[in-house]
Amino acid sequence: MTFTSTAATTLAGVATALTDGGKTSSGEAALFWVLAPLMVLAALGLVFARKAVYAAMSVVFVMISIAFLYIAQDAPFLGVVQVVVYTGAIMMLFLFVLMLVGVDSSDSLAETLKGQRWIGIIFGLGLAGLLVTVVVSSTFPVAVGLDEANGDSNPVGVARLIFGDYIFAFEVVGVLLVTAALGALVLTHRQRLTRHIGQKERSDARLASGHTLTPLPAPGVFSRSNAMDVPALDPTGAPLEDSVSRVLRIRGQEREFGVVAAEIEAPTRTASDPEVQR
């Protein structure tokens, strides 16, 4: 009983604190009512989109719309950084991973870890409870208004808060991120099993092996036949076996130069000619 009454009074206090210094211009209201429904649709798109890329694009849309709202509320630094960091870097990484794992692959819904769903629900509820408690029990300072908060320009105001009032939290988050990055490096590090062979060594080996260094000659001498299967001729008129694809040679579909020449020179085509058959 007492809890609900305190919660009610705090919520009322929060509401007054939020509305005290705030005035919404008609332009801002119009922007909000245009963007908000679209953002809700996009957020639903994240959940219900069939293709992973569409889900990612929904998130991008929501992020950019939020940036617009931030800027409309005189927080240009937050709005622009939102786009640079979240849309430009983090969602780009998501897209990168989506493309690496295959854009058409769908999620497997089979549960691989036993009981993870229950543990997840318990932790989720715990987090929600913690957040609600913190938000409800916190007291907000009296709003001073945007003119004062942005007095020395918006970035300076944000910098004073981050590097002045909240420097400890900021440093802790920094340490956490560096630890996470190092952990990722350590976990994904793989030792080489065999020696690294560089470009120089490869080219040396290629030279030493005595094989042809240049691209192989293209097949075909007669434009009238399907000449993929006829070897090219060298300057002396001898056929170059290498010019015909290895696959055709293995299948035995390579044709002798003389056979093709005779076929083309013959006045009437025989029934064995592949083009007549077709």
């Binding site: 240009p76 950084v81 870097a89 897209l95 493309m99 020395d152 293995i250």
Partner: protein, 465 residues
Amino acid sequence: MIAAMVSSAVPGVVSASVAGAANPGVTADFSQDNGWVWLIKAVVILVFLLLTVLMAIWFERKVVARMQMRPGPNVHGPFGLLQSLADAMKLLLKEDITVKAADKFLYMLAPMISVFCALLTFAVIPFGPSVSIFGIVTPLQLTDVPVAVLYILATASVGVYGIVLGGWSSGSTYPLLGAVRSTAQVISYELAMGLSLVSVFILAGSMSTSQIVATQQQLWWFLPLFPAFIIYVISMIGETNRLPFDLPEAEGELVSGFMTEYSSMKFAWFFLAEYINMVNVSAVVTTLFFGGWRAPWPISAINDGMFNTGWWPVLWFLAKMWLFLFLFVWVRGTLLRLRYDQFMSFGWKVLIPASLGWVVCVAVVQGVRQFTEVDLRTVLIALAVAVLVVVGISFLVPERKPEPGAAGKKAIPPGEFDPFAGGYPVPPMPGQQLPPSPRRARVAAAAPAGAARQVTDSQTEVERG
């Protein structure tokens, strides 16, 4: 006058003195602007960008041609000037093909994102100081915000979605490869780019473009911040997908990368976006490092700075911008495309650490200047001594010799690899002798050329079954 110049050259003083009336943190005064002034400016910027692109295409073809000892386009119009117009008309009139495998919506959206984001940057680029247009005194700039340069970075990073989505939605292999390369490229080169800009922010004390230009009254930032300038120039070429960093399109490897499946108008939009982006980054580097619209030194001293007022600065701005466009063409005509892995390791192992280290140096010097009584000359002399000492020590350190032998010293003494060591399946350790791979034997059997080929070929065929 001189006192004013000196005081405005000191960053801290500037940010304090100009934190002005309407928009704190911005030097340019837009208080007299009204609706039609904005409209005129916006339309002029749009027309300017489109004309500049037409000019830039002609310029690039002409300059590259001269570098290759040939005349270049010279048939349509004087000096071939109308060639790019004719090309644009041809592109618009071509058949617009949507490939069957394409994801229709994103396929159409992608070029739009590219062009739209490319057009946004010039909103915050200052062409000049305040001038009078029909009796209204207004800066030659559409708008400015305290975070203008961050806004430029933001639009650039959203613009890349055009490339990535275009590559993905084409439903084809080469475009997808181009898109994947583009994401990786953007993530790695935008970091270096942003970090190189941070040192300008530190010295100028602001992220607003008009104020950064205002702080370069005495000294253009590319001189004291030369390493940052170099890093920015390198990463701006990477950012615009130009040679030698044009890996997302790489016509030798990926046909045209992300735009392979595009034709007609949609292709023209990608094309347009690429050239507008070139103009954008050239304008940004001019504004941030090359004094923006300020006249170069001997001219700026004439008649008490007459050439830094009125409409003259537009000329200097355009001249500097075209200087960087020429640099783009010059680099394209000179350098070869990097291999993809070299490109990535250059970005991550050279550019990002270098720009990080440089930001730390600039921050330390600026901190010493602001929070202690030590004057700048002492700080610079101390820095020079430190650099000399480090360079001197680096000469004393013996050069690392290439590792002798095949395996090197670090490797564990080779032993036979036991896949079931200790009764469990285990992965091999570095340096262990691996059993010969059966696949490699097949490949080796297929390789030898000459008379024995028929036999080995049929053998591999049999092995494959």
